[in-house]
């Protein structure tokens, strides 16, 4: 299969402008007759559904949540990037584009990323107009902070709840379109299949989660904005309900899954505390602006901490290894996530971990408290402040910046991070891989589009902090409303699609059979137990570092686990009722297939890049060794029960010179 990116001709900087100026449009009277299905109400889905409603399309929007506002986007903490250059610190569209391509270790598509950087500026304007209460300076203008992997301050934020505020903005815009009758909202509906007619995406089969009944929905086009699949690892920072089902069912109908092995492991999460643990909690990357990461120099000191005989405060300054500052002086604690995570793993592998399990490093705010305390004393005109006063003033500054994060940390761990350093460890956080899409965000199935974390398009092998929110809203507010027009302008003569067409009836029957199959296995093991076991296999063999032998073994283990699942899983209750266990069973079944493809993708990629670290391909200092000669391609996988197949899109870099990514 040939994968065409359908990138417009012309110089990179003007492609998007030219595209918008010359694309075919759908006239307003035709828009009223055209139906679009949007699955998902996170940043990507809610913004897309609202904007297409505003344009006059007939939109049906779906979420498995009880309300659009509960989408996982709500949990994003740190911020959203935009090339506004309000700080006059040298930012520009080109720099954001460059940072993103470099941060992604040169495995993303230039044209898509440049467009993202261009529209990033409109996003901030739009959100401000919606009333999003972004953080502000004393002069009343928008405030910024920096995130990892860049040297400018371009991140906009709303305390530690940026995702919540942006999502509420999009949710409110969506609510307005619902009240105007332009969008029909279906809460508690889970898409379980994609319906194709003559090769084009024409609708979905969704299960009404309250009644358990399947329903058929038809449209001229289908947009998936269903989020990432990090929960294939069982433990991740994702919300419990995040899953791959919508995307995966589309893959089973012929769509392709691109770069599934590119997983982002976030360096600053609260470490695992016990077997019962259900999810991991992120401590926003913004903390690395002020927190210093360290472990003891000596293994003996680390062991004493592990046994509870010493604490961080017992380790004198000269016995500490601030390993990020030592190894990467140019970026220090603000190196990108993949680099920071691997460095933490290296430290813990050397036996220098600082928790009972040995799997944690310190994130220390003492120096920042001192620094802020002193400057605060000066600005308040306090002469010769006492040590206590400095600490009091410094803690107040830290509290204003990160109060809710510190509080969250204390609630979970019962430790006070103002007084003793936080303990953190990397955890699965984000999936750069996703459905393969072209420049239009259209998959290889005509009429099927994919937005947000669910697609693969912009972050290459590693995403920079605060760029997922940017991408979700770029896709939904500013890209899909245009690019879907290119497809729909050819559909103005297509009559309303009939949800009783044979293709719909067949898909419904197959979906029903699938549900019946799960409930009728009546085995002995819970869905949860299979999910947990899958997660362990993924983390062990396809986690922070991977090797060929482990990946082959992991693949076989997943195949065995899948067979066991279909023999021995127990799903209580019935299909035709509200049944959360059945929902979970379907999602875990899909993870059991996706996991296999992730292993194969990681095995296929004989190089290290971004979040994908193959032990065989490393420099003597342990840095990732990329292979641009052979692997500068997107690996797009076609599902097949016995042997999934890979298709390749060669990446072309015309505007950026491929360099070894260095943060030293």
């Amino acid at each position: 299969m040939e994968l065409k990116s359908n990138t417009p001709e012309g110089p990179l900087a003007t492609k998007w402008e030219k595209y918008r100026g010359t694309m075919n449009l759908v006239a307003p009277n035709n828009k009223r007759r055209i139906e679009v299905i949007v699955v998902g109400t996170g940043l990507a889905g809610a913004s897309a559904a609202a904007t297409m409603g505003e344009l006059g399309y007939n939109v049906k929007c779906f979420t498995f949540h009880d309300s659009p506002r509960r989408a996982h986007s709500i949990a994003a903490q740190g911020g959203i990037n935009a090339a506004k250059n309000y700080q006059n610190d040298g930012d520009s569209v080109y720099r954001l584009f460059y940072d993103t391509v470099k941060g992604g270790d040169y495995r993303s598509r230039e044209s898509n990323v440049h467009r993202l950087a261009e529209v990033s500026r409109n996003i901030i304007d739009q959100c401000v107009a919606q009333g999003v209460p972004f953080a502000r300076e004393y002069g009343g203008l928008l405030a910024n902070r920096s995130f990892g992997g860049v040297q400018v301050s371009r991140t906009f934020y709303a305390r530690g709840q940026t995702g919540q505020q942006l999502l509420l903005g999009a949710y409110q815009a969506l609510s307005r379109q619902i009240s105007l009758g332009n969008v029909e909202m279906y809460n508690r509906h889970e898409m379980l299949d994609l319906v194709k007619i003559d090769g084009k995406a024409r609708g979905i089969i969704a299960r009404n989660l309250l009644t358990g009944k399947l329903e058929r929905f038809a449209a001229h086009s289908v947009v998936l904005a269903t989020g990432g699949y990090g929960n294939v690892f069982y433990l991740s920072t994702n919300a419990m309900g995040s899953n791959v089902t919508a995307a995966w069912r589309a893959v089973k109908k012929g769509a392709l899954m691109a770069n599934p092995c590119y997983t982002q492991i976030h360096p600053t999460c609260i470490p695992v505390s016990g077997e019962y643990q259900s999810k991991l909690t992120l401590m926003s990357e913004s903390l690395r602006n002020d927190g210093r990461v360290w472990v003891p120099n000596k293994v003996e000191d680390a062991q004493a901490i592990q046994r509870g005989e010493k604490t961080a405060l017992d380790i004198p300054e000269e016995e500490r290894d601030y390993y990020l500052e030592r190894r990467y002086p140019a970026f220090g604690n603000l190196v990108p996530r993949d680099v920071a995570s691997r460095a933490a793993k290296v430290a813990c592998d050397e036996g220098k971990g600082v928790s009972k399990t040995g799997l944690a490093v310190f994130l220390d705010f003492a120096a920042a408290i001192q620094r802020y305390g002193k400057s605060s004393a000066i600005s308040k005109g306090i002469q010769n402040p006492s040590e206590d006063k400095i600490i009091e003033l410094g803690e107040a500054v830290i509290k204003e910046k990160y109060g809710n994060l510190f509080q969250m940390y204390e609630k979970i761990t019962a430790d006070n991070p103002y007084k003793t350093p936080m303990k953190i460890y990397p955890a699965v956080h984000y999936t750069m891989g996703g459905m393969w899409v072209d420049y239009h965000l259209e998959t290889n199935i005509p009429g099927l589009f994919c937005l947000g974390e669910a697609n693969f398009s912009d972050h290459g092998a590693n995403r920079l902090g605060a760029s997922a929110l940017m991408q979700g809203l770029a896709d939904g507010y500013f890209v899909i409303p245009y690019t879907i027009g290119t497809f729909l302008s050819k559909e103005i003569r297509t009559p309303k699609i009939d949800p009783d067409a044979p293709e719909f009836m067949e898909a419904e029957k197959a979906t029903q059979a699938n549900l019946d199959r799960l409930i009728n296995i009546k085995g002995n093991q819970s869905v949860e137990s299979f999910h947990r076991r899958l997660g362990k296999i993924m983390w062990e063999y396809c986690g922070m570092s991977r090797n060929a032998e482990g990946l082959k073994k992991g693949r076989q283990m997943i195949r065995d686990l899948r067979a066991e699942f279909y023999n021995d899983v127990f799903v209580p209750g019935e299909v035709g009722e509200f049944n959360p266990e059945l929902e979970k069973a379907g999602r875990v079944a899909d993870f059991l297939e996706l996991g296999e493809v992730m292993m194969m993708d990681a095995l296929d990629r004989n190089e290290s890049c971004g979040g994908h670290f193959r032990e065989e391909y490393a420099t003597p200092e342990g840095e990732a060794k990329r292979n641009d000669e052979d692997y500068a391609y997107v690996a797009a996988w076609e599902w097949d029960e016995t042997e999934p197949r890979v298709h390749k899109e060669q990446l072309e870099f015309k505007d950026i010179e491929l360099k070894t990514r260095s943060y030293k």
């Binding site: 509960r70 506004k84 928008l142 709303a158 709840q161 809460n187 019962y276 019962a414 500013f478």
Partner: protein, 250 residues
């Protein structure tokens, strides 16, 4: 630690509910919901139907989780959602009652799961600023005082969980509605539609069957985001002003 649970079970809104006894072996580092995971895991292993409860982010931001624990929405710890509550807040041997939100406007779906779509309809009635994508001016065109923006943010932090309704003896949705009115009305961008917004949202709130506010303050006390009751005063002022002073009315 051993925990005795009395958990509300109810097949659907038409069935009668009852309290069911369970004993769970918990760990003090577990979250309250992880303790429920343990309970459900053991129910499933006995081929019984697990307790249905709502949850998603498990970090206190999505507003999904909703348990009335020993009579208090989200349990004993102030400023904390059910998912952020940890078992160290309880003692070995404790008996804990767990029930759903109770309000006419929040019908029970199953066990601890209730239907909170009334909140969505309140927002749909006017909880937004009418700006289409593409109509915005530059983000820094209007300077907004830091304090003012912070006050808007204080109100905007509402997670829409409904604890305020569950806490209120009249099952009033005033705090939820007022928080949105205050958030948008405090931002200059939201001022233009403020009057109409207040009227529409209050009207929808009444239509949904939420009760009257009688100023008991229970909503503020139980709100996991500590949204201030002063928002209600602001909304009341605007509402009265709009009904008396404006020709526009809904």
């Amino acid at each position: 630690m051993k925990i005795h649970l009395k958990v509300w079970r109810q097949r659907d809104n038409d069935s009668k509910g009852y309290l069911e006894d369970h004993t769970v072996e918990a760990d003090e580092h577990m979250s309250f919901l992880e303790m429920f995971d343990v309970l459900n895991e053991s129910l499933v292993s006995e081929k019984k139907t697990p307790v249905a409860f709502e949850h998603d982010c498990r970090e206190g931001i999505c507003g999904s989780c909703n348990m009335v624990i020993n009579g208090q929405p989200h349990g004993p710890q102030s400023g904390t959602t059910t998912c952020q509550l940890h078992m160290r807040s309880f003692n070995d041997g404790d008996t804990i009652f767990v029930e759903p939100w109770r309000a006419k406007a929040f019908p029970v779906i199953k066990d601890l799961v209730v239907d909170r779509s009334a909140f969505d309809r309140i927002i749909q009635s006017g909880g937004y600023i009418s700006v289409n994508t593409g109509q915005a001016q530059d983000g820094n065109a209007i300077a907004i005082e830091k304090d003012r923006s912070a006050r808007a943010m204080d109100a905007a932090e509402c997670i829409g969980c409904g604890a305020c309704v569950a806490a209120c003896p009249n099952a009033s949705a005033m705090l939820f509605t007022a928080a949105k009115v205050a958030h948008l009305g405090t931002m200059p961008q939201g001022e233009v539609e403020h009057t109409l917004r207040v009227q529409s949202m209050v009207k929808q709130m009444d239509l949904e069957g939420f009760g009257m506010c009688s100023n008991t303050g229970a909503c503020e006390a139980e709100c996991p985001k500590e949204i201030s009751i002063t928002n209600i005063a602001m909304m009341n002022r605007s509402y009265v002003g709009s009904v008396l002073g404006s020709e526009k009315s809904v």
